[in-house]
């Protein structure tokens, strides 16, 4: 199988998966016992008001028609109207999304960084107290509720020591604007990603970059540490296997330094499993993001879901969860393709 046919097959296989996920979201919100409209009003409203409300949101149509509307709407990037203020949900979701993306990227960096470092250290000192301590760390990170770790870090570094901010994305008024580029013949283009770190670099404003990083610190360390356990274990096991191979012995015989052998030679063999694990952990990352964002008042999709639950805004909840579903399918597709590109054996 060539890479091209592999990609095509993989993309085709994603379609039923996405369709099933979307159907699940629809079924959970609309078909399971519990009517979103009645839940929204907590059964206290006038029946006529409820009917009007239903009509306004298109929830009075037969269920299969709603299902078609839902899927057709997605193709137009239309996620329906919010039950709270009847504004389009899509707009709110797209403005919250970059915050989640930024948190996810930095958390993944922390998780992989800590994971590789501790995993390598454990493998180097195999079966010593250091190795055992690192293994216990790996198990404990698995058992710590991410929001509890978040609260503890807020308490220690935010409130008791006062070093880092405990919530939000940046200091009020320090939101980076991105760059305005004037191209001859085209006009001025506003270049902004919504990621505060990148936008402040685009704007060329180091003060804003520092603020953005300071606010990112605690949330991404919290989420990153909780995810790091699995990378510690993966790196450790891979390194233990690799360090026993002949090419490592050969490198040692040539008198190379240990650091060169480990980071230059052995770690390369762990790259593919780590990449796969990053893809697999993406769903866990998103679950963790909901709790982390709630803990740190981080204005992303997770916090959006949390506040919308408070408003009993079921169309918004449905929209946000739909985005998560598509995101998960897309990431697993990208990881699989990347994997096939890097390791031709997969395509066989």
């Amino acid at each position: 199988m060539t890479l091209r046919t592999y990609i095509i097959t993989r993309v085709l296989l994603t379609i039923p998966m996405v369709l099933f996920l979307l159907t699940t979201v629809f079924v959970v919100i609309r078909v399971l016992p519990g009517d979103p409209v009645l839940l929204h009003f907590e059964k206290r409203a006038d029946p006529q008001v409820i009917e009007e409300f239903r009509h306004k949101l298109g929830l009075d149509k037969p269920i299969w028609e709603q299902y078609i509307d839902y899927l057709a709407g997605l193709l137009r990037l239309d996620f329906g109207k919010s039950m709270q203020d009847f504004s389009p949900v899509a707009q709110q979701i797209f403005s919250a999304f970059p915050a989640t993306l930024e948190l996810a990227i930095f958390s993944m960096l922390v998780a992989v960084g800590v994971g590789i470092f501790l995993g390598v250290e454990a493998a180097r000192s195999y079966n010593t107290p250091k190795d055992h301590a690192i293994r216990v760390f790996g198990i404990v990170t698995y058992a710590i509720p991410v929001f509890f770790l978040g609260i503890v870090l807020q308490m220690v570094f935010g409130i008791m020591l006062g070093w880092l901010p405990t919530g939000g994305r940046t200091y009020p008024g320090m939101e980076p604007q991105g760059a305005y580029i004037t191209l001859p013949g085209v006009g001025t283009i506003h270049l902004a990603t919504g990621l505060y770190t990148i936008d402040s670099i685009l704007e060329g404003n180091p003060a804003k970059l520092i603020q953005a990083l300071r606010y990112l610190c605690l949330p991404s360390i919290t989420l990153g540490l909780v995810l790091s356990g699995i990378f510690v274990r993966l790196t450790r096991n891979n390194m233990l296997e690799t360090l026993r191979m002949d090419f490592i012995t050969a490198a040692k015989a040539r008198g190379l330094k240990e650091r060169v052998i480990i980071y230059g030679y052995a770690l390369k063999n762990s790259f593919l499993p780590i990449l796969t694990m990053m893809g697999l952990q993406f769903a866990t990352l998103l679950s963790g993001a909901v709790l982390t964002e709630t803990t740190f008042s981080w204005p992303g999709l997770g916090r959006y879901i949390f506040t919308r639950i408070g408003f009993r805004d079921y169309t918004a909840i449905q929209g946000a969860i739909t985005v998560f579903a598509i995101l998960v399918a897309a990431v697993s597709l990208v990881v699989d393709i990347l994997y096939a590109y890097l390791d031709p054996r997969i395509r066989l």
Binding site: A143, P145, L291
Partner: protein, 296 residues
């Protein structure tokens, strides 16, 4: 040696059995430590009504935000409730939800896995696709969606957690059955004309059980954390039921008061409970699958 000793009495037997775990080395110790943690927490929760110094919901048992002192070893919270009593009581919901969700997963995931993989064909493909999709989805987010639709309550919480873990059982059962059903003894059973049902129940299921037990213990740990997460997001059981998750939910709002004790002790209990189950799961999986033992 453990086979020749005939333990007397029903109380001695489990202790002898547990003590023999330590002969299995590090994984055995892990299981033992995990069991001790979990059993202590269960006993603590059961005995809470008899041993807790105050009613966990009683207001103003001491000063507001009182730090730990002899009268209130874990301090008091924003309502002057005794944190020590709340910690003693607070595991009940989590334990019930976790147990119930594991039972539901077991009752649904295992049979589906057995039949789907044994029958094979298109049905198996469709079920696998469905299970894989749920498996790929961020668990907590799906659980939130189901929980907000079903409403509060222990059973509803357990159901929403069960849905996200059923695929784990399905996958492990399916992969095991696919290997086992090709084995010669199953072929022999088929040759002497055993019914499908008999083959599944008597020849295949017993060999799948050990892997399921491992998944179930990990599932327990996950269920505890997910239940705590749902409660932390404000979607737990009623507010007047003392719960570690609720204590964290409220404690978070009073961080500037620097009252670390109102979050520290409930959080520690959640970690211990999840850690206990994780230890059991880790140890069991190493004992049951010695080939996977790390570094050997």
């Amino acid at each position: 040696m453990e086979e020749t000793e005939k333990p007397k009495g029903i109380l001695v037997w489990p202790i002898v059995k547990l003590a023999s775990l330590t002969k299995k080395g590090w994984p055995g110790w892990t299981v033992l430590i995990g069991l001790i943690i979990v059993i202590s927490i269960v006993i603590m929760t059961i005995l809470a009504p008899y041993i807790s110094p105050y009613d966990p919901n009683a207001l103003n048992t001491g000063p507001i935000f009182g730090p730990p002192c002899p009268a209130h070893p874990f301090g008091t919270n924003h309502l002057g409730q005794d944190m020590f009593s709340r910690v003693l009581w607070g595991g009940s919901t989590m334990l019930q939800v976790a147990l119930l969700s594991v039972l539901i997963c077991f009752a649904v995931g295992v049979p589906i896995g057995l039949f789907s993989s044994y029958i094979g064909g298109n049905l198996d493909k469709v079920i696998s696709l469905i299970m894989d999709s749920i498996y790929a989805f961020p668990g907590l987010i799906l659980a939130i969606a189901i929980a907000v639709m079903l409403g509060r309550g222990v059973v509803n919480m357990a159901l929403s957690i069960a849905v996200i873990y059923i695929p784990s059982y399905f996958r492990i059962v399916r992969s095991q059955v696919l290997t086992i059903k090709e084995m010669t003894y199953v072929e022999a059973a088929r040759a002497i004309g055993a019914k499908k049902r008999t083959i599944l129940a008597r020849y295949i299921l017993p060999n799948v059980i050990p892997s399921i037990v491992t998944v179930a213990t990990i599932n327990f740990a996950d269920a505890v954390l997910t239940a705590a997460g749902l409660t932390f997001l404000g979607w737990g059981v009623e507010v007047d039921v003392p719960d570690w998750g609720w204590d964290l939910y409220y404690g978070r709002q009073y961080l500037p008061s620097r009252a670390w004790w109102i979050i520290f002790f409930p959080g520690l209990m959640i970690i211990l409970l999840a850690l206990g189950f994780t230890f059991i799961g880790e140890g069991l999986s190493e004992i049951l699958n010695p080939r996977l033992r790390e570094g050997e």
